[in-house]
């Protein structure tokens, strides 16, 4: 809607506006540029005019009259900038909040950064390196994590950017609005080949995306399917399937009551921590018997398990993930998920 506004001239030095966020950011950007140009011009003109008009005409010249100051004038140039920055602040905060608030139906894409490459994983199964294929006009939520240092996932054409932290999930969402190739960069200095750590987003039509998906050398399983395999392989099933440990069905995004009386939301970060540092948060009613999987399980495998747990969720937020897991070979129904009968 907004990117058709005639107010915004097409200027080549900004990247194309290729996401739903971009026009909003650009409108604010042009507003700020306008204000800046106005004040810069004001100061430059005043400097020039005063400097020329009141130039010294003889070496011993002194101004006729000394002016100490002027309170109304001081208040004017205190309050007007104050009003302007308040407007900018509120506007900026609004843009920021909508930038940080993913729509509920956003499809999750998992991005794992490592020195110096991007590993991207789609819930449907395909994995890519330094490239991200997405369908146009559909909200995508990237779940970002790093295997080593802090990176930053930045897509200038989408006006989107988020740091990628080790041992934690941060998120970034966007809805691409134009088909095409757009660069993404690592924006946070991350060591030797920081400047090589970049790739492209390929925004495709839904049909093109489907075609791309089917043309991919498909992993035999979706992420949730991989996760289900790991559920057996790592022996999670021996406890989480038998009641010795908390069951996974309906776990994702639910409130979990902990031993100390606190509650947490079982989100990606919580699940990740539970796998790597099981003793950090003990679920009420269970014994702290789970061994740590630190060092035994890769970031991608953790994401697979999270995807699997997501697919077992019953909350509406995980619809996308559930749908994605449909094609999985592994059991996704409630009965099989608890694994009692197997």
């Amino acid at each position: 809607m907004l990117h058709h506004l005639p107010l915004i001239p097409h200027v080549s030095f900004l990247p194309p506006e290729a996401s739903s966020m971009a026009p909003r950011v650009d409108l604010l950007l042009w507003f700020t540029i306008g204000i800046s140009v106005f004040f810069t011009a004001l100061i430059f003109i005043l400097l020039f005019v005063f400097a020329i008009k009141y130039r010294r005409r003889s070496p011993d010249e002194l101004p006729e009259k000394q002016i100490e100051g002027n309170l109304p004038l001081e208040l004017t140039w205190t309050l007007i900038p104050l009003l302007i920055v308040i407007v900018l602040f509120v506007w900026g905060a609004k843009v920021f909040v909508s930038d940080r608030r993913p729509p509920a139906n956003a499809v999750h894409v998992y991005v794992v950064a490592k020195q110096w490459m991007w590993k991207i994983q789609h819930a449907e199964g395909p994995r890519e390196i330094d490239a991200l294929h997405i369908p146009v006009d559909e909200p995508i939520e990237c779940i970002l994590t790093s295997q080593d240092v802090i990176h930053d996932f930045s897509v200038p054409a989408f006006r989107a950017k988020m740091d990628v932290l080790p041992d934690r999930y941060t998120t970034l969402w966007f809805k691409a609005t134009r088909v095409g190739f757009y660069h993404f960069y690592c924006d946070q200095y991350c060591g030797t080949f920081h400047s090589k750590m970049r790739g492209y987003v390929d925004v495709m039509t839904r049909e093109g995306y489907e075609a791309w998906l089917s043309g991919q050398e498909r992993h035999s399983l979706s992420m949730a399917g991989e996760g289900a395999k790991l559920y057996q392989q790592y022996g999670c099933i021996t406890c989480h399937g038998t009641g010795k440990g908390p069951p996974w069905v309906g776990l994702y995004d639910s409130k979990v009551h902990l031993m100390g009386g606190q509650t947490v939301i079982a989100d990606d970060n919580y699940i990740r921590e539970s796998i790597l540092q099981p003793s950090a948060q003990i679920v009420a009613g269970y014994k702290p018997i789970m061994p740590t999987f630190q060092g035994q399980i890769s970031e991608n495998q953790i994401l697979d398990i999270i995807a699997y747990i997501k697919s077992l969720a019953t909350t509406p937020n995980a619809q996308g993930a559930t749908a994605a897991a449909k094609g999985a070979a592994a059991p996704t129904t409630k009965g099989n998920g608890t694994g009692k009968g197997e």
Binding site: M1, R24, V97, P102, Y169, T171, D267, P316
Partner: protein, 121 residues
């Protein structure tokens, strides 16, 4: 420039001893309180006693109650900036939320930014 301020203000011996005794009692008290279950108030009590003890030391042993205003300003500044450092850093950690995106972001739940919904920004 040279305000004729008092160079020294020798405190009475008795006051020093009194402060000393109070400090020792407070140490015993803070240790004792730790053995009583007050829930989260344990921390509050411990810190309150520590602040009280520190104030005694500053006011009496360090003569802050006889110092010029400037010294008091320095003390207040130091405490205030310490609080900025701890308090403002905590605004991040205490509101960061253990969830990947705070619940009020979810469009399907009532949120503090509810009025923003549907607005173009």
């Amino acid at each position: 420039m040279a305000e004729s301020i008092a160079i020294a203000h020798a405190e009475k011996k008795r006051i020093y001893v009194l402060v000393w005794v109070t400090l020792l009692c407070m140490t015993a008290l803070t240790t004792g309180v730790a053995y009583i279950d007050l829930g989260p108030w344990n921390t509050v009590a411990a810190l309150a006693i520590a602040i009280f003890k520190a104030s005694l030391v500053v006011l009496f042993f360090m003569h802050a109650r006889h110092s010029e205003h400037l010294v008091r300003i320095v003390i207040v500044c130091a405490i205030f900036w310490l609080l900025i450092l701890i308090g403002v850093s905590m605004t991040d950690f205490s509101t960061r939320n253990r969830v990947s995106h705070p619940t009020w972001f979810r469009t399907n739940q009532p949120s503090v930014f509810h009025h923003l919904e549907g607005s173009p920004y």
